[in-house]
């Protein structure tokens, strides 16, 4: 088992290495070299050579990538050519903001999604199952950012229950913090509630049809206990999907942060784009990719560890 975990982990690191290489190449494919962007259009070629030499930009491409990657592993994302600020510091300032929205959305999605899915699975064909089916289609189809806009309009502007945007860190009051991230987290969570509810429902319905459930019933086990055991057997695919969802949520959080005007990684990324701050852009996108790869790894491991049938097929 340990060998399996280690093998998967190193395979993911390898993937990240190559994907990072592609990213590194792409950030250099755009119009304008860093030297031109920093020094302006009328810099002499001597100034440009000097700048590139001073920042190691004249070294071979792979060497630059290796140097950058080693720095990143040590937590040093470099210093921005444009703003002169430390990229790691910039990311460290924005990441907690994004993380708090994503984590709240993740918790909401898991609790509500598994809850709704389980209730719907108990009575297949019942009224709650029908409503769930309809709700799942709606949840999968309504874009999160539009939901956010609608929530701002009705909850914040009309009813004035919550602030329409902005961000208050938890250090300035937990209630105020939750008030600012509640609507963004709910908008982000709805799609994943639908995804997880559908998977839970299908998987639990399947489990409840199993022979051991019939045996347990015949032996007179109480209904809640039977459902509990069936749910344990039904959960692995749900947890797998939840882990995948966690990775995807960061991407959509970028859009949601724009809707609610939250100063998270989204703003940092769009600033990096508009200022052509390649190091910042590279750092942020690499971070997102690392999170995504780890979420995929987690999903894969969950599958293999929780589902004995898949253990052998490593």
């Amino acid at each position: 088992m340990f060998r399996l975990l280690a093998g998967r982990f190193f395979a993911s690191l390898g993937t990240l290495f190559f994907v990072g290489l592609v990213l590194f190449a792409l950030t250099r494919a755009g119009p304008g070299s860093p030297a031109r962007i920093v020094l302006g259009a009328d810099a002499t070629s001597q100034q440009i050579t000097q700048f590139e030499h001073a920042n190691g930009l004249d070294r071979p491409f792979l060497e630059q990538y290796a140097a950058w990657l080693f720095d990143v592993l040590r937590g040093d994302f470099g210093k921005s050519f444009v703003t002169g600020r430390d990229v790691a510091g910039e990311i460290a300032g924005a990441l907690p903001v994004t993380l708090s929205v994503v984590l709240l959305a993740f918790v909401i999605a898991i609790v509500v999604g598994i809850g709704i899915g389980s209730l719907a699975a108990l009575r297949p064909g019942g009224p709650f199952a029908s409503v769930t089916r309809l709700g799942v289609v709606l949840g999968l189809s309504i874009p999160a950012f539009w939901l956010g806009i609608v929530l701002i309009r009705f909850i914040a502007v009309e009813l004035r229950w919550l602030p329409p945007g902005g961000y208050v860190p938890p250090s300035s009051g937990l209630i105020a913090h939750l008030q600012t991230i509640a609507m963004p987290a709910v908008s982000l969570a709805v799609y994943y509630i639908a995804v997880l509810a559908r998977m839970t429902q299908a998987s639990l319905q399947d489990a409840l049809r199993g022979d051991y459930v019939r045996t347990a019933r015949a032996m007179g086990l109480s209904s809640p206990r039977i459902v509990f055991y069936a749910l344990l057997n039904a959960l692995p695919p749900v947890i797998n999907l939840a882990a995948l969802s966690f990775g995807y949520m960061f991407g959509w959080a970028l859009i949601i942060e724009q809707v609610f005007n939250i100063p998270g990684l989204s703003r940092a990324l769009l600033n990096a784009i508009s200022q052509r701050d390649f190091l910042l852009l590279q750092g942020i996108v690499f971070l997102f990719t690392a999170i995504f790869v780890l979420a995929n790894l987690g999903a894969d491991l969950v599958n293999r560890v929780l589902d004995p049938r898949q253990r052998s097929s490593a």
């Binding site: 994907v19 309504i142 874009p143 806009i149 995804v195 991407g251 990324l269 769009l270 996108v285 997102f288």
Partner: protein, 294 residues
């Protein structure tokens, strides 16, 4: 024929509803200049911000442009990106999956590791970053000029391809080893004949299911990227940019500006999702199409 009869009998009304929505939306996109009541980019200051009425069914925006006409024309960008990306993704992915399953050995290993690599790229972040790096200007290839959306279609297509590669690979692997395929070899069939005549038709149903569901995801991605200003460029109408403009109207009374483009996206996506689910129930009883999450 048998299949058609089964389809008519088995598909419940939700599948038909989905199909109807998809047909109407594609029709609207194709015939946009004919069915839209106004020019989608014609500015008319005296009619600005008028509420829905008989002249402008869905009202007008800050520049007096007809919202209904902009939604109808906006369907073009949405569907072009959604469907275009799926076509690119299917072509790339199906070829990769067939190649790997067919070749086996080292070719299989390398191809599927590349597929894994592409699958570990977070789509939305990369799309935003790459369009950001390349800029939102049009793409010129030779004497042809393509709008910014071409970059998004290509990117999203590439990043959709692992879904197709994996589903094709899984089915193709099973079939390549089957006895009837060996028998076809003994009859003297070429590799190409086996790949296209035996293997591909068997992969088709899960591929169609994934394609339909991925169009829905592609549409939301296009709207989202346009919403942050890196997709369709103004004044060209797109559902995402319309919602972005509508943010200015959130605090005033113009409820129709944020409401209708969002309904357009949602209804279209519902259409593709319902259709995809119905197709899955009909053609993919073994459930070889994967559960999609984006």
């Amino acid at each position: 024929m048998n299949r058609l009869a089964r389809l008519a009998r088995a598909a419940d009304w939700t599948g038909w509803l989905g199909a109807a929505i998809v047909v109407v939306m594609i029709g609207a996109a194709l015939l946009a200049p004919l069915v839209a009541p106004y020019d989608p980019v014609a500015i008319s200051i005296e009619h600005r911000l008028s509420a829905p009425d008989a002249a402008h069914w869905l009202g007008t925006d800050q520049a007096g442009r007809d919202v209904l006409s902009r939604i109808i024309h906006g369907a073009r960008a949405s569907l072009a990106v959604g469907i275009g990306a799926v076509i690119i993704g299917a072509l790339l992915g199906v070829s990769a999956g067939l190649f790997a399953a067919y070749k086996g050995g080292l070719g299989d290993q390398i191809t599927m590791r590349i597929v894994d690599g592409v699958a570990s790229i977070p789509l939305l972040v990369w799309a935003i970053a790459i369009v950001g790096i390349l800029g939102v200007g049009p793409v010129t290839i030779g004497s042809l000029q393509f709008p910014n959306e071409v970059k998004i279609v290509t990117l999203v297509g590439c990043l959709f391809s692992p879904v197709f590669a994996r589903v094709t690979y899984a089915v193709a692997r099973r079939i390549v080893g089957a006895d009837y395929v060996k028998a076809r070899y003994l009859q003297g069939a070429s590799h190409w004949q086996i790949a296209l005549g035996e293997v591909l038709p068997n992969c088709l149903s899960p591929i169609i299911v994934q394609a339909t569901l991925l169009v829905a995801i592609g549409i939301v991605i296009e709207a989202s990227i346009s919403f942050v200003g890196l997709g369709v460029q103004p004044p060209q109408p797109s559902w995402g940019t319309m919602l972005s403009d509508a943010r200015n109207a959130l605090y005033s009374g113009e409820w129709w500006l944020p409401v209708f483009p969002g309904i357009a996206i949602s209804v279209t996506v519902i259409g593709f999702n319902l259709l995809g689910d119905a197709v899955r129930d009909l053609f993919d009883p073994r459930n070889e199409a994967r559960t999609l999450v984006a």
